[in-house]
């Protein structure tokens, strides 16, 4: 197997170059077809917002194209000067390239370690290569294994545990309090852009209704229209809070809009369960003293960011075990691949020995015909087989144990020459 990887990631390529080198939409299929046509090899492209990587492979002994040829292809395809990208791209071959893909799929090489999107993107890259007919025996094996390594890392380590975006952490907290949402009311206070993503996530919970209030009635109506909610007058804020189960507050108010005393009055009027308040406004809209964890759970931006950082820190602890899994899987894959490659040669070697043994046995039988019983001939034939197995055990074991580093003359080649085994 000859595998070559040429690419760049957020670590080596600035965003402007990543944007230029991206293979989006129909570009991907065109590029895969062109790579196959130009270099006569298997190809796959992993193109995400954080990386662009081209994997080139050949199943036989013929070596894969030079890395510079691939850089040249990238340069011509995207019309970016060769010199501008050459220094920012990395290239890896064989085991190193396999390890890199396994690390990428397992999200060990991601901007946010443990993020779950990358495995899907690697799968998509593989499926695109399959659809374009550019994935052959090597890339099939490597990409399938990469996806299984990603799954193993995800299930056997805590690397993907928890959420790392503020809006996802906010929704996680909401889910810690509420079980079902078809009878829940979400109240959106303000029209801050910061809350847009959180509101999008909250809408996915399919609440019974969304109320929107703002100092400016026009803005309240605009936000309500966007989220299929109901606009409520600013003077009705307290009434809306009495009815709300989840509150998303994103006003630009310089002072808190809700003091503890005012909120106590609201709580006294409430008969509903715990209220979750996501105060993502800066400065804060709700007095932090409101939080009691029982009647009101108040989370502000600092709380959500703290969890985000805590999750990222916890993920760091799982990097080493995840890397150990990747190393183990690379070793296993290379070993299995070599065995698969050696298989036909070992079969031919065994067949050749069988042929020779049978020829010698036939001569022997012709020479001593009638002098030995059938049982004694069977015994001699068995002895031949045993001798053959004992003779072959050493060479076959040596082939299986051969170090994977590519050397000029491999043991396999030597054995093929020694035993006159033609390709």
């Amino acid at each position: 197997m000859n595998l070559l990887l040429v690419g760049g990631s957020f670590k080596t390529l600035p965003i402007e170059l990543r944007e230029k080198l991206a293979f989006d939409g129909p570009k991907l299929t065109t590029a895969l077809n062109e790579l196959s046509a130009r270099f006569g090899c298997e190809s796959a492209i992993v193109s995400t917002c954080n990386r662009v990587e081209i994997y080139i492979a050949r199943a036989g002994e013929e070596i894969a194209p030079n890395a510079d040829l691939i850089v040249e292809f990238l340069s011509q395809f995207h019309q970016v000067p060769f010199e501008q990208i050459r220094g920012s791209l990395y290239s890896k071959i064989n085991d190193a390239a396999i390890e890199h893909l396994f690390r990428v799929a397992a999200s060990l090489d991601s901007l946010i370690v443990g993020e779950g999107q990358i495995a899907g993107q690697v799968k998509q890259a593989y499926e695109s290569a399959q659809a374009a007919g550019s994935a052959g025996i090597v890339l099939h094996a490597i990409f399938q294994q990469a996806l299984s390594v990603a799954k193993r890392v995800r299930t056997e380590t805590g690397i993907s545990r928890g959420h790392v975006s503020v809006s996802s952490v906010a929704v996680d907290y909401v889910r810690q309090v509420h079980d079902h949402f078809d009878d829940k009311t979400i109240l959106v206070i303000g029209a801050g852009k910061m809350g847009a993503l959180t509101l999008k996530h909250l809408r996915e919970l399919q609440p019974e209704r969304i109320l929107v209030t703002n100092r400016s009635p026009e803005k309240a109506i605009a936000v309500a229209r966007e989220c299929a909610g109901i606009a409520v007058g600013w003077d009705k804020l307290d009434d809306a809070l009495v009815d709300a189960d989840i509150v998303l507050s994103t006003t630009g108010s310089p002072e808190p809009i809700m003091t503890k005393d005012r909120f106590d009055g609201i709580l006294a009027r409430r008969s509903r369960g715990t209220m979750v308040i996501l105060d993502i406004a800066v400065p804060r809209d709700f007095d932090p003293a409101i939080h009691d964890g029982d009647q009101a759970c108040l989370f502000n931006v600092d709380d959500l960011k703290r969890i985000q950082e805590q999750t990222l820190q916890e993920r760091q602890q799982h990097i080493k075990p995840a890397e150990a899994i990747v190393a183990q899987e690379v070793k296993r894959f290379v070993h299995d691949w070599r065995r698969r490659k050696n298989g036909p040669i070992i079969a031919r070697l065994t067949q050749e020995f069988d042929k020779q043994a049978k020829a010698v046995f036939s001569d022997l039988r012709a020479k001593f015909n009638g002098e030995l019983s059938e049982e004694q001939w069977k015994y001699i034939e068995g002895a031949f087989k045993l001798l053959q197995n004992r003779l072959l055990h050493g060479p076959i074991s040596a082939l299986a144990e051969e170090m994977p580093e590519p050397t000029k003359h491999t043991l396999l080649e030597a054995m093929m020459k020694m035993f006159r085994l033609e390709r």
């Binding site: 299930t155 056997e156 805590g158 545990r161 928890g162 952490v169 996680d172 907290y173 889910r175 810690q176 309090v177 509420h178 079980d179 079902h180 008969s271 369960g273 715990t274 939080h291 009691d292 964890g293 029982d294 009647q295 759970c297 989370f299 709380d303 703290r306 969890i307 805590q310 999750t311």
Partner: protein, 290 residues
């Protein structure tokens, strides 16, 4: 016990008898240690999962819990229903039966809600009930009243109420842990059900247990007509106390609308009284053989 078992097997015929004899030989070897150890190891595996989460550990814990459950059922069938050496109406029998129902609850919930760490909360209660059962075991314990209709009704209704109280207790403990996590704004956990679900679980358990408890008490009064009753025995006082606590709990929950935390604390208090009632000896028919 052995003679009773042998008589039971003798009544069966042919191959059925051989199979039953083989099964009895196997099940007779099951001891309290077998199922207690299974539950304890399942709990240990769940603890391991807490620090090194791997799906396989949850499966192992569930398999161990299932094995414990099988051993537990076999033990109760052989010793209580067939052998009658451990009457289910006795303190030990009641505690073992309650532990069994909670173990069924654990296995069921662990299958349906696999992400939740049920073993962490249910198995300690199961193990504690088994431990109390062993500690309060009296080989001479016989409950004659268990044989009468009112005795069976009284025992069954109170046991079912006890299941409700125990489930409410587990839900309350989980609720308080979740409450603490939310108060301290700790990172969200998948292995703990949300507050709303735990409160619903608690409320359902209370609503289920109260009528059963009341009916059980009434059946106990009916039983009084047949056998003497000591109104001031710890068991009677505990059961009456449990009923009063439940009445207060319902009043607080539905009339006063107290905070959920207080409801959870009252439920835990009710469970403590329940345990006291279960470990106390019977006030009627004590020492009378069936």
């Amino acid at each position: 016990m052995t003679s009773a078992l042998e008589a039971y097997v003798r009544e069966a015929s042919g191959s059925v008898r051989d199979i039953m004899a083989g099964m009895l030989t196997f099940t007779e070897r099951i001891t309290v240690l077998c199922f207690a150890a299974s539950y304890a190891v399942a709990f240990g595996v769940e603890l391991w999962h807490l620090f090194q989460p791997r799906p396989i550990l949850r499966i192992i814990a569930l398999v161990l819990g299932g094995a414990g459950l099988f051993a537990h059922i076999s033990y109760l069938i052989v010793n209580s229903l067939i052998g009658s050496s451990l009457p289910l109406g006795s303190p030990t029998g009641s505690l073992f039966l309650l532990a069994l129902i909670l173990a069924v609850f654990y296995v069921g919930e662990a299958i349906h809600h696999a992400k939740v760490a049920w073993a962490m909360f249910v198995l300690p209660v199961v193990l504690a009930l088994i431990g109390l059962g062993v500690a309060s075991h009296d080989p001479q314990d016989r409950v004659a009243s268990w044989q009468s209709f009112w005795g069976i009704a009284h025992g069954t209704l109170l046991l079912l109420a006890a299941v409700g109280v125990s489930v409410g207790f587990i839900a309350s403990v989980m609720y308080l842990v979740q409450l603490h996590r939310l108060q301290e704004k700790l990172a969200p956990l998948e292995s703990l059900p949300n507050q709303e679900r735990l409160l619903e679980m608690n409320h359902r358990a209370i609503l289920w247990a109260f009528p059963l408890l009341t009916a059980g008490l009434l059946a106990g009064l009916a039983l009084q007509a047949n056998v003497g009753i000591d109104w001031f025995s710890i068991r009677i006082l505990s059961v009456v106390g449990l009923w009063v606590v439940f009445a207060v709990l319902l009043y607080l929950r539905y009339w006063v609308h107290v905070r959920s935390r207080q409801v959870a604390l009252w439920t835990i208090f009710a469970f403590v009284i329940l345990v006291l009632a279960l470990v106390s000896p019977h006030s009627f028919g004590q020492g009378v053989g069936p």
